[in-house]
C-alpha cells in the first residue's frame, strides 16, 4: 500500500486481496454442511429467513479457525465493517455484538469488491428512491450529498429520477419479505461505501512491464544462478543456535535483572548496564564471548580488549581498525585528512603504530591513498579485522584478564515484591543524550585532545 494518490488506472490493490480472503470466510460460513446454522427473524407478522445471531457467528469462527473468542469477535467485526454481514436491528451501527442480535449475509451482488467502485450515479438513484419513498427520510449528511450530486450530475437528473421511480415500482410488486431484505441489503451497501465520515483511500500504481524491465530481470536471474548457496540444514541450525544463545538476554522471553524498568519503574537495570560502569554485569561479559562483533560493539568490551592487546604488543591493530571505521562513517570533508593521518601513524615505513598487512593488500592500499576516498582502507581494515578475530580474540577469551572480568562481574539480585504493592515509584527523567553530548563536546574542546578517537560513539 502506498500513499501515492496518482492512481494510474489504479485499483484498490491492497483492499482486493483482503476482500477475496474475507469472501472465502463468508463462503465457508454459508456452506450447507459445515456452515452456520440459520434462524428466522420475525418482524411483526413477517418472517424473514436466513438470519443468524452474533453469538452464533463468534462460536462458528472460534470453532473453525481454532482461535480465541476475543479474536473471533475481532475478525467478525471486520466482516461487518466491510459489509459482508450486516446487522438487522441497528443498521447504522456496524459492530458485531456477541449476543442474540440478528445479522444476515450480504448478497454477492452488493459486495464492495463486485461493484467496485461504487458509482455516483447509483448513489444518486439510491438517495432519490429514499427521498421519493418518504419525504424527509434522508439523514443530514445524505441531504448534503444529495444536493451536491444534484449539482454535479445535473445533466442526467431526469434519468436519475426516472430510474428511482422505476425501481420503486418494481419493488412494490415483490413479496414483502423480499422487499424488506432487498432494502436492507441496499442500505447496508451504501452505509459501507458512502459512510457519513469519509476515510482516506489509498491507491497503488501499476507495474509497467516493458522490454527494459524484462532485460533487467533476465540479467538479475543470470547473476543469481551463479551464486554460492549453503545447505539449508546448516543455515537453519544457525538460527536455532543463535536464539538459544541469546535466550537469557531477551527480556521479553526471560525477563531481566534486577527488574524490567518498564514494569518496576526502577532504572537500576539501565544504570547497571550503562556504557561505562565500574563493574559490568555477568550477562554482559558473557555476551562478549558470543562473537567478535559483540565485543567490539560494547565500549567496555573494546576497552578491555585493548588492554589485552597492549599486553600482547598488538594494540596497533585495534587502533588502526578504529581509525578506518572513523573514515567509513565520518564526515566526507574530513576523509582526506584522516587518510593522511592513518598513513602517517600506521602504514608509513617506520610508523609509530605500524600494522602488519600482507604485501598485496599494502600495495593496493598505498596506491589507493593517492586518490583517497571513503572506502580506500576497506581491504586493509578487513585484513586486520579478521586477523584479530582469528588470532587475538580467541586468545583473549582464554586469558586471565577475561576470566577475572567474568568472575567479578555482578549478577544483580532480583528485586523482591514490595511490602507496599500499591506505592507508586517516582519515574525519574534522565539527561537527554543531546545534553550530555553538548557537555562532553565542551569539555573536549577545553582539553583539546587530538588523535584517532572514534567520533561516532554513543554514550549511554
Amino acid at each position: 500500500m502506498t500513499i501515492n494518490t496518482l492512481a494510474k488506472g489504479g485499483c484498490h490493490r491492497e483492499q482486493m486481496a483482503c476482500f477475496r480472503k474475507m469472501e472465502k470466510v463468508i463462503v465457508a460460513m454459508q456452506d450447507p454442511d459445515m456452515g452456520m446454522k440459520m434462524r428466522n427473524q420475525r418482524l411483526l407478522i413477517t418472517v424473514i429467513p436466513h438470519a443468524m445471531t452474533g453469538h452464533d457467528i463468534i462460536a462458528w469462527l472460534t470453532h473453525k479457525y481454532r482461535i480465541s473468542e476475543e479474536e473471533s469477535l475481532h475478525l467478525g467485526n471486520m466482516l461487518v465493517k466491510y459489509g459482508y454481514i450486516y446487522p438487522l436491528k441497528e443498521p447504522r451501527c456496524l459492530v458485531l455484538r456477541p449476543d442474540e442480535s440478528p445479522y444476515r449475509f450480504q448478497t454477492p451482488y452488493f459486495w464492495t469488491s463486485t461493484r467496485w467502485p461504487a458509482s455516483e450515479l447509483d448513489y444518486a438513484i439510491y438517495l432519490a428512491k429514499k427521498n421519493i419513498r418518504k419525504q424527509g427520510e434522508l439523514m443530514e449528511y445524505e441531504k448534503e450529498r444529495y444536493s451536491l450530486l444534484h449539482k454535479r450530475i445535473n445533466h442526467t437528473w431526469d434519468f436519475v429520477v426516472m430510474q428511482a421511480r422505476e425501481q420503486l415500482r418494481a419493488s412494490k410488486q415483490r413479496r414483502k419479505a423480499d422487499r424488506i431484505v432487498l432494502e436492507c441489503q441496499e442500505q447496508a451497501y451504501w452505509l459501507i461505501n458512502r459512510p457519513p465520515v469519509r476515510s482516506i483511500t489509498l491507491y497503488c500504481i501499476q507495474l509497467y512491464c516493458n522490454s527494459d524491465y524484462y532485460k533487467r530481470e533476465i540479467e538479475a536471474c543470470r547473476k543469481a544462478l551463479g551464486r554460492n548457496r549453503v545447505k539449508s540444514s546448516i543455515c537453519l541450525e544457525g538460527f536455532l543456535k543463535y536464539s538459544e544463545q541469546y535466550l537469557n538476554h531477551d527480556p521479553i522471553m526471560q525477563g531481566c535483572l534486577p527488574s524490567n524498568p518498564w514494569i518496576s519503574d526502577d532504572t537500576a537495570h539501565w544504570t547497571m548496564n550503562a556504557e561505562i560502569v565500574p563493574v559490568p554485569t555477568r550477562l554482559r561479559v558473557e555476551r562478549w564471548s558470543f562473537s567478535f562483533m559483540e565485543l567490539l560493539n560494547d565500549a567496555m568490551g573494546r576497552r578491555e580488549f585493548m588492554t589485552y592487546l597492549e599486553k600482547e604488543f598488538s594494540a596497533e591493530n585495534l587502533y588502526f581498525w578504529q581509525a578506518c571505521e572513523d573514515i567509513r562513517h565520518g564526515e566526507s570533508s574530513k576523509i582526506v585528512e584522516k587518510v593522511e593521518d592513518i598513513y602517517k601513524n600506521f602504514l608509513a615505513p617506520g610508523a609509530a603504530r605500524w600494522v602488519n598487512i600482507d604485501s598485496k593488500t599494502m600495495d593496493k592500499t598505498l596506491e589507493g591513498i593517492k586518490r583517497p576516498h571513503r572506502f580506500v582502507m576497506d581491504d586493509a581494515q578487513m585484513h586486520i579485522y579478521f586477523l584479530m578475530k582469528k588470532d587475538s580474540y580467541p586468545r583473549y577469551l582464554k586469558s586471565d584478564l577475561y576470566k577475572n572480568m567474568l568472575a567479578k562481574a555482578i549478577v544483580p539480585q532480583e528485586t523482591k515484591k514490595s511490602v507496599f504493592p500499591f506505592m507508586r515509584r517516582q519515574r525519574h527523567s534522565s539527561p537527554s543524550p543531546a545534553q550530555t553530548a553538548t557537555q562532553a563536546a565542551e569539555e573536549e574542546g577545553l582539553a583539546k585532545g587530538a588523535g584517532a578517537n572514534s567520533a561516532a560513539g554513543s554514550h549511554f
Binding site: 500500500m1 502506498t2 500513499i3 501515492n4 490493490r13 491492497e14 486481496a17 483482503c18 469462527l61 482461535i67 480465541s68 479474536e71 475481532h74 451482488y109 425501481q167 497503488c204 507495474l207 512491464c209 530481470e217 536471474c221 543469481a224 548457496r229 539449508s232 540444514s233 543455515c235 538460527f239 543463535y242 536464539s243 538459544e244 531477551d250 521479553i252 522471553m253 531481566c256 524498568p261 518498564w262 514494569i263 518496576s264 539501565w270 567478535f292 571505521e325 562513517h329 565520518g330 566526507s332 572506502f375 528485586t415 523482591k416 504493592p421 506505592m423 519515574r427 527523567s429 534522565s430 537527554s432 543524550p433 543531546a434 545534553q435 553538548t438 567520533a455 561516532a456 560513539g457 549511554f460
Partner: protein
C-alpha cells in the same frame, strides 16, 4: 436489477471518440508489432530463468525450518501487556524509532508533527512542526543528538536536537535527501554522518549529512520502495529494501549493486527487518503474511500466516534473541510469531486503527507500536513468573 443506462453524450461525440481511439490503437499497434515479438520472447526467457533459479535454490533445500525446530522447546505462554499510551499527535502516527538510550523515541505523524518523547516518563521533550503533512519516515541518530524525518515533501531532513527551550528546532532543519517522489523510510548508518533513504520513486539512496551530497544510489526496484533496514553484519556494508514490486532486494552500500533478490510475496512488501545475527531477514506484506528469508541458503525459509488473518501486515520487528517476530496489521492487531516453529505465539489488541510501526527497544525490554489511531503504545512482557515490584500506576 438495474436497467441499462444511456450515456449522456450525443451520437456525433461518440463517433468522434471512437475514431480517435481506433487511430491511437492502430498507431501503437504499428509500432508495437515489431517489438511485440521481442517483448514476448523476453518475457518467456525471464520466466524460464526464474523457474531455473527456483530449482537451483531448492536443490540445497534438504530440510524445513519448522522440522529443524522440532527439537526446540515450545514457548511458554507469553503475557504481554500495554502499560503506556503516548498521546499527543493530532492525527495518524506513521513512524517511530527508539533512541539508543533505550527510553527515548521519535515519532512522526500525518499532522506534520515530529515529537521526541521520553517514553519512560511520558514527557514530550521536543515537538517540531513540519510544513508537509504525512511525515512517513523518521529516525533517531545513533548519538541521540539529532533526528531525521521525511515524507510527502520528497525530502529527508536532519534536525539537531537542542535543549534550549527557546530555540526553534524547525528553523535548524537541514534538507539532506532529495528524491523525486515521497520518502518512505530513512535510517542513519553507523554514525550521524550518513543517511540511507528509500523512496516512492523506486530508488534508495545514501547521503552525506554534512554536505547533502548523494554518495550512492540504488536502482533495481520497479515500483515504490516502502522500507529498508541496515544489516547488523561484521562488515556493515549491506542493507535490504522491500517495495510495491513485491521484491525484497539486498544491496551492497559501497558499489550500489543489487546482490540478492527475493520475490515470493503476493503483494506489496511494507516492511523489511534483519534477523539480529544478520544472516536472515523478515518481511511484512499486504498479502497478510510475513516471510523469513535466509541469506546464505538464498531462499524463503518460513511463511507466517493463518486463515483468520486476513488483513495486510504493515510492519515487523524481532525480539532481541530473534525468537519472536512482532508484526502489526491493518486490522489493528499485533500478531506475535514464533520465528523457529512458524506458529503464532499470541495476539495483542488495543489499537483502534491500523498499526503502522512496531519496534522493540534497543535492549529488548519493551515493544512500541505506533498507529493510525494517533497513539503510540509501549508494551512489555510479564511472562517470566518472577517477583517484581508491582506498581499500579496511571496507564
Amino acid at each position: 436489477m438495474q436497467e441499462e443506462r444511456l450515456t449522456s453524450s450525443t451520437g456525433a461525440e461518440k463517433c468522434r471518440r471512437k475514431i480517435r481511439a481506433v487511430t491511437v490503437l492502430l498507431c501503437s499497434l504499428f509500432y508495437c508489432e515489431q517489438s511485440r515479438e521481442t517483448l514476448e520472447s523476453l518475457k518467456r526467457e525471464s520466466e524460464t530463468l526464474k523457474k531455473k533459479l527456483e530449482e537451483e535454490r531448492n536443490k540445497l533445500n534438504d530440510v524445513e525450518l519448522h522440522q529443524v525446530a522440532e527439537k526446540v522447546e515450545v514457548l511458554s505462554a507469553l503475557s504481554i501487556k500495554t502499560r503506556r499510551v503516548l498521546k499527543g499527535h493530532g492525527n495518524k502516527v506513521l513512524c517511530m524509532d527508539w533512541c539508543k538510550d533505550k527510553r527515548r523515541m521519535v515519532s512522526s505523524s500525518q499532522d506534520g508533527k515530529v515529537i521526541v518523547w521520553d517514553a519512560f516518563t511520558l514527557n514530550k521533550e521536543h515537538g517540531v512542526p513540519l510544513p508537509c503533512t504525512w511525515v512517513l519516515a523518521c529516525a533517531y541518530a545513533p548519538s541521540g543528538c539529532a533526528i531525521a524525518c521525511g515524507g510527502l515533501d520528497n525530502k529527508c531532513s536532519v534536525i539537531p536536537l537542542s535543549l534550549d527551550k527557546n530555540e526553534n528546532l524547525a528553523a535548524k532543519k537541514k534538507s539532506v535527501a532529495m528524491h523525486t517522489n515521497y520518502v518512505s523510510g530513512c535510517s542513519f548508518t553507523n554514525s550521524d554522518m550518513q543517511l540511507l533513504t528509500s523512496s516512492g520513486d523506486g530508488t534508495c539512496a545514501l547521503w552525506d549529512v554534512e554536505s547533502g551530497q548523494l554518495l550512492q544510489s540504488f536502482h533495481g526496484h520497479t515500483a515504490d520502495v516502502l522500507s529498508l533496514d541496515l544489516a547488523p553484519s561484521e562488515t556493515g556494508n549491506t542493507f535490504v529494501s522491500g517495495g510495491c514490486d513485491m521484491k525484497a532486494n539486498v544491496w551492497d552500500m559501497r558499489s550500489g549493486q543489487n546482490i540478492q533478490s527475493f520475490e515470493s510475496h503476493e503483494s506489496d512488501i511494507n516492511c523489511v527487518k534483519y534477523y539480529p545475527s544478520g544472516d536472515a531477514f523478515a518481511s511484512a506484506s499486504d498479502d497478510a503474511t510475513c516471510r523469513f528469508y535466509d541469506l546464505r541458503a538464498d531462499r524463503e525459509v518460513a511463511v507466517y500466516q493463518k486463515d483468520s488473518i486476513i488483513f495486510g501486515a504493515s510492519t515487523c520487528d524481532f525480539s532481541l534473541s530473534g525468537r519472536l517476530l512482532f508484526a502489526g496489521y491493518n486490522d489493528y492487531a499485533i500478531n506475535v510469531w514464533d520465528v523457529l516453529k512458524g506458529t503464532r505465539a499470541t495476539i495483542l489488541f488495543g489499537h483502534e486503527n491500523r498499526v503502522s510501526r512496531v519496534r522493540v527497544s534497543p535492549d529488548g525490554t519493551a515493544l512500541c507500536s505506533a498507529s493510525w489511531d494517533s497513539t503510540l503504545r509501549v508494551s512489555w512482557s510479564f511472562s517470566t513468573g518472577s517477583n517484581y515490584i508491582f506498581v499500579l500506576g496511571k496507564q
